[in-house]
Amino acid sequence: MTQSVVVQVGQCGNQVGCRFWDLALREHAHVNKKGVYDEALSSFFRNVDSRCVCAGFTPSKMLFFSPQAVLVDMEEGVVNEILQGPLREVFDSTQLLTDVSGSGNNWAVGHMTYGSAYREQIVDKLRRAAEHCDCLQCFFLIHSMGGGTGSGLGTRVLSLLEEEFPEVCRIVTSVFPSPEDDVITSPYNSVLALRELTEHADCVLPVENQSLVDIVNKIKHMSHGGKPASAIKRDSAIISGQGGLGGAEKPFDAMNNIVANLLLNITSSARFQGSLNMDLNEIAMNLVPFPRLHYLVPSLTPLYTLADVNVPTRRLDQMFSDAFNKDHQLIRADPKHSLYLACALMVRGNVQVSDLRRNIERLRPSLPFVSWNQEGWKTGLCSVPPVGHSHSLLALANNTCVKPTFMDLQERFTKLYRKKAYLHHYLHVEGMEHSVFSEAVTSLSSLIEEYNHLDATKRRLMPDAPRLRIAT
């Protein structure tokens, strides 16, 4: 069994991370009734107290397992909140790195100032977390792109991970800012961070706040819909954190739960059994045809299960159709009208391979795939469903529909950069120069260009490459 370490950086990263650990504990408690430290737990937790075996297992009893995590934030508010909340027993101080004053929404401060100041400490904490692992397979980095710490220090941590642990896969969950974001410098921060992601990450799962808001509203609308038959089964919404350790729900909790569920689903096959396992290194292998094009658009279905058993359960097929629907994507994108380079389907629960194949056959004609990967599907079946659902589907698409997001960022960046607005805040930071900006922009432009190039092949019927001929 392999282990993963979660590194959460910045306010957003830590809040999402906190939700992730809560839901992970809930999931394992659900499956592992005896409370014994088993293989599945070992992928994210380590056993601090080997004597403890708890009967009547509830999440609170799982406090003897310590998460493999490193929490980094340059201001203390969020981490303190975690330490005063129900998860306080779970983390210990060696896993935390905090400072007082924050990064002021400035990528340069996060990346260069704090990055250099705390380099040794960060590497030390990472190494300590890695040493506890028997076989470390993957680092999960959670951060946001728009701010200063998550974006700047987070990407510095990413390049440190590449330096210190080059063999270990780096999967980054990045929360992209919405256009109406209240942080004015978020385009600068995002573009500067994006360059780092393109260079140093193995896979990036972009998530947009606006999509999360839309999904949460959709679910709330459903549950308050008024039709008695359509009440949602308790605990079964993808945004629900009930049954975990967390107390009252805080404002961003619902949205953060979605991202936490995304991480749980990606790792489900590595943790639990199934008839067709999909390991984390297989995700990077199958979904990344060219090194820089590693942005995978996630979508999760179903969003909820209905409570009324008299209503026929949403058919399995509906779940598959929904996964390609633009309302279910975690960034604002329409994959069906862009070009697929590759697609992975991770199914959990009581679904058989024939159901999976039938749905792939059904949906394939409507999805445009690149000419050299017409049947580019990677599938995985895990037998353990998530809490509250009988089955669920995670789709990861390497699709050119990320291009509009990038172009949007580029446009917002250019608007500010042309006027040199706020630039002095960045250039004052030691180590920061104009060239950093221009390299970041170049990187972004060439990335967009690569996607353009692929898009151009979309409508054209590409001829098959001529085969080798054998002299007969």
Binding site: M1, T2, N277, M285, N286, S354, E375, I470
Partner: protein
């Protein structure tokens, strides 16, 4: 004589477990003593307590599947895997052939060779080695190819029969075509014969013949186990004079693979029906055999939707034959092995399979057609017939696989994932060239 099975990767281990289960049940089912003894000798060894231990080595780069296969075997109570006959690591091969072949294989080569040697030493006489694997993933394909290479060096005089499971055409793994091409090209030089099952075909057998609406991988693996078992269980071959053959793999290989360019074997079994229907069916030989012959000629892989329009054309006289004489869709065979199991095998009429029109012109049907019989019914079917054929049946799937891989290679997609483990573009080109040669050879059979 005994066969040592090497189960590699998730598919290999899952299929292998179903195979041993079916063989054990079949042999133990109050059958004739000679059959049971021969089958048990071939696939199992007995411990001091009288328990049956499979002659198998389980290999995977991550532990979950091996654990569940061993647990399933132990649970059934009739047989089990050897306690120390397995090898696993913590982290898989990531669907990367190069990772399996260049990294995992060499890294663990001593342990793996040791495991096989121990199992082989338990055999009084080694009939041969059968690696069971899939071609789509990383471990089965990559490590499997490496292990076959090592076994070929260590046991130069033993027969090596590779059993391969080909993935669904519409993709289980995106780089499956690369992995398949690399595997097949290498195995072609190492293996004595390559026996293939295609997931697509087996899936159709499950849904159309066995009436399983939502076929799971377990169902698919059971069908593969049934078909493979019907090939490998004891039978009376031409050479054996009333005793079950002591050299099944050797006779299979020498009967079917007469030329090193033609090593791909496909399997068909009739009848196949839902287990609940077996009790209500009557079995006779003429019907199924006629179907089986037409299935061979028209290249239909299951006993459904057989195209009766395809027939060998009538030769006006003389022994020359050109391609235009055989109709479209006609499947020319190089060699066939028909295995009949059940009651009244001696009365079965198999002359149709010896018809020269079925075979390529440069082999006589006496050399091309082999017949084995066994009076003991197999796996609850009162009468069943299995056809192992070396024909153009696998030409189309192979051609498709190479075409898709070539298309992907033309845009160099995913190549960086392979080159970082030590496979170069040259190696890819070599593999493509070998397989184009194989395709060309099969295409020209007439």
């Amino acid at each position: 004589m005994s066969i040592v099975t090497v189960q590699l990767g998730q598919c290999g281990n899952q299929v292998g477990q179903e195979l041993f289960d079916i063989i054990c049940n079949d042999a133990q089912e109050g059958q004739r003593k000679a059959y049971r003894e021969s089958s048990t000798e071939r696939f199992f060894r007995e411990t001091t307590h009288g328990d049956l231990v499979a002659r198998a080595v389980l290999v995977d780069m991550e532990p979950k599947v091996i654990n569940s296969s061993m647990a399933k075997a132990a649970k059934c109570g009739r047989w089990q895997y050897g306690d120390r006959s397995h090898f696993s690591q913590k982290q898989g091969s990531g669907n990367n052939w190069a990772n399996g072949f260049c990294v995992h294989g060499p890294r663990h080569t001593e342990v793996l060779e040791d495991l096989v040697r121990r199992e082989a030493e338990h055999c009084d006489r080694l009939a041969g080695i059968m690696p069971v694997m899939s071609v789509a993933g990383g471990t089965g394909s990559g490590v499997g190819t490496y292990v076959t290479q090592r076994l070929r060096d260590i046991y130069p005089n033993s027969f090596i029969l590779n059993h391969l499971t080909w993935p669904y055409g519409t993709g289980e793994v995106i780089v499956q075509n690369y992995n398949s091409v690399l595997t097949l090209a290498h195995l072609y030089q190492l293996s004595d014969a390559i026996l293939v099952h295609e997931n697509d075909v087996v899936q159709r057998i499950c849904s159309q013949l066995l009436n399983i609406k939502h076929a799971s991988f377990g169902d698919v693996n059971r069908v593969i186990g049934h078909q493979l078992g019907s090939v490998l269980q004891p039978a009376l071959t031409g050479d054996c004079h009333g005793v079950y053959s002591r050299n099944p793999l050797g006779e299979l290989v020498s009967g079917l693979v007469c030329h090193p360019e033609y090593k791909l074997l496909s399997v068909c079994t009739v009848p196949q029906m839902a287990s609940t229907s077996i009790a209500y069916s009557t079995f006779s030989w003429p019907g199924p055999l006629k179907h089986l012959r037409q299935m061979l000629i028209s290249n239909t892989k299951l006993e459904e939707g057989i195209d009766w329009q395809v027939r060998p054309s009538v030769r006006p006289g003389g022994t020359e034959r050109t391609r235009s004489r055989t109709g479209p869709g006609f499947n020319t065979s190089l060699a066939n092995l028909l295995i009949l199991r059940g009651k009244d095998v001696y009365s079965a009429e198999t002359g149709g399979f010896g018809d020269p029109a079925l075979y390529t012109s440069w082999l006589s049907p006496e050399q091309g057609f082999n017949l084995w019989k066994c009076p003991v019914p197999f796996n609850k079917y009162e009468k069943s017939a299995t056809l192992v054929s070396n024909s153009q049946a696998l030409l189309e799937p192979l051609d498709n696989m190479v075409a898709k891989a070539w298309n992907m290679f033309a845009s160099r997609a995913y190549i960086h994932q392979y080159t970082k483990f030590g496979i170069s573009e040259e190696d890819f080109l070599d593999s493509f060239t070998s397989l184009e040669q194989v395709i060309s050879s099969y295409k020209q059979l007439c």
